[in-house]
Amino acid sequence: MKIAFTAQGTDWNAKVDPRFGRTRYILLYDEDSGELQVIDNSASVAEAHGAGPKTAALIADYDPDVLITGNGPGGNADPALRAMGIEIFTGAGGMTIRQAYEAYKNNQLRKF
């Protein structure tokens, strides 16, 4: 399974970003290969409008199965993500990426 995290940093100790559209990074964890990929989202952060859909388009290319974030996508990103069939889990705000992954595995996160 490929799991995407909204992140404020670039490694497992980084904090989960509560936002989706203007999250600084997306970290993509491939459970099969164990690889953690860093996707830079600064282009979306710099957008005046449409940051949500732009970030959704960005991660679509990587085809994640799950998205873990703090609060969740806003009204414009949400339909885009749903169309991609991604499962969204929230409640990870304030956790590190590692903690968020553990919480997800232990069913402690909220389904959006």
């Binding site: 509560p18 952060v45 005046a48 609060n71 806003g74 009204g75 959006f112």
Partner: protein, 291 residues
């Protein structure tokens, strides 16, 4: 460190009056963030002394290079915003009309049009008369808000709070239910909904609460001007009960809210004894609920 965000849905319900009072009542280690950048008014009550000022670039505007322009008229034909002027055969962009959509740039056959970053406004870090720092912003004429500037203001406030070990960030949220509001509430520890007992007040309260609920952020409700319509107030109370929203307080209509604004004071300083007490209790409830 807790982030308390005050929103209302409908503008004019008393959001800033409440958040400013909270800013007054909160412990000294507090950062204030005014995220209502379209119509900022926290500064009227906080008397900020600007410590740091930064330019904010967000949108773009088109610029026509007259040396390359062949006068083909294509840009004029595609522009939806009446932003191309062709006086005496000279083509130029009217900056105030230009929305930055870049349609003209795309169609220009000789690449005479480029998109330039537009200075949309400034953001500031200031010291306030409450001895609590405030992050705020001012948008330029005709420029638009989006989640971008609100996010920036919130991120700066958070950086200050983390660096100086502050206990609270109090955010005066943006009105409405759009992206600026979403950006205001992202990352909040607790949301205070300020409502008024009117038809549009209740309608917008429900819409904005829907946002808060989906984001999974705990929320409390203050009914402001509750005595102007007891029936509508009861409607709001029922709505709160049905949705497990904690009713923090009900504040009566009082013209001294306006007098306080004129004098540049918060109601926690200027209000009647009853209102001061209600505000103090409200803040204490918020502190309890946000733990």
């Amino acid at each position: 460190m807790r982030e308390i965000v005050v929103i209302s849905g409908k503008g004019g319900a008393g959001k800033t009056s409440i958040s400013a009072s909270f800013a007054y009542l909160s412990p000294p280690e507090t950062v204030i963030a005014d995220c209502d950048v379209d119509a900022a008014d926290m500064h009227l009550l906080m008397k900020p002394r600007i410590v740091q000022q930064e330019d904010f670039y967000s949108s773009q505007e088109a610029v026509i290079n007259p040396d390359l322009c062949t006068g083909c008229d294509l840009c004029y034909q595609v522009c939806r915003f009446d932003a191309i002027s062709r006086e005496d055969g000279i083509y130029s962009v009217i900056p105030l009309n230009c929305e930055g959509c870049a349609y003209c740039e795309k169609v220009c056959p000789v690449q005479a049009i480029t998109m330039k970053a537009r200075l949309d406004g400034q953001w500031f870090i200031s010291e306030t008369r409450l001895d609590k720092p405030m992050v705020h912003a001012r948008l330029g004429i005709g420029t638009e808000n989006s989640g971008k500037l609100v996010t920036l203001v919130k991120n700066v406030a958070r950086k200050i709070a983390e660096k100086y070990n502050k206990d609270f960030i109090i955010v005066d949220g943006a009105p409405g239910v759009g992206c600026p509001v979403i950006a205001s509430i992202s990352g909040a520890s607790f949301v205070v909904l300020v409502s008024e007992p009117t038809v549009s007040g209740i309608h917008d309260l429900k819409r904005v609460y829907d946002l808060v609920r989906r984001f999974g952020i705990p929320a409390g409700l203050i009914i402001n001007k509750y005595d102007i319509n007891p029936e509508k107030t009861q409607e709001i109370i029922s709505f709160a009960q049905q949705n497990a929203i904690f009713l923090i307080s009900q504040i009566p209509y009082d013209e001294s809210f306006v007098q306080a604004q004129i004098r540049g004071l918060t109601m926690a300083e200027y209000g009647s004894r009853q209102i001061k007490k209600l505000l103090r209790q409200s803040w204490e409830t918020v502190m309890e609920l946000s733990e």
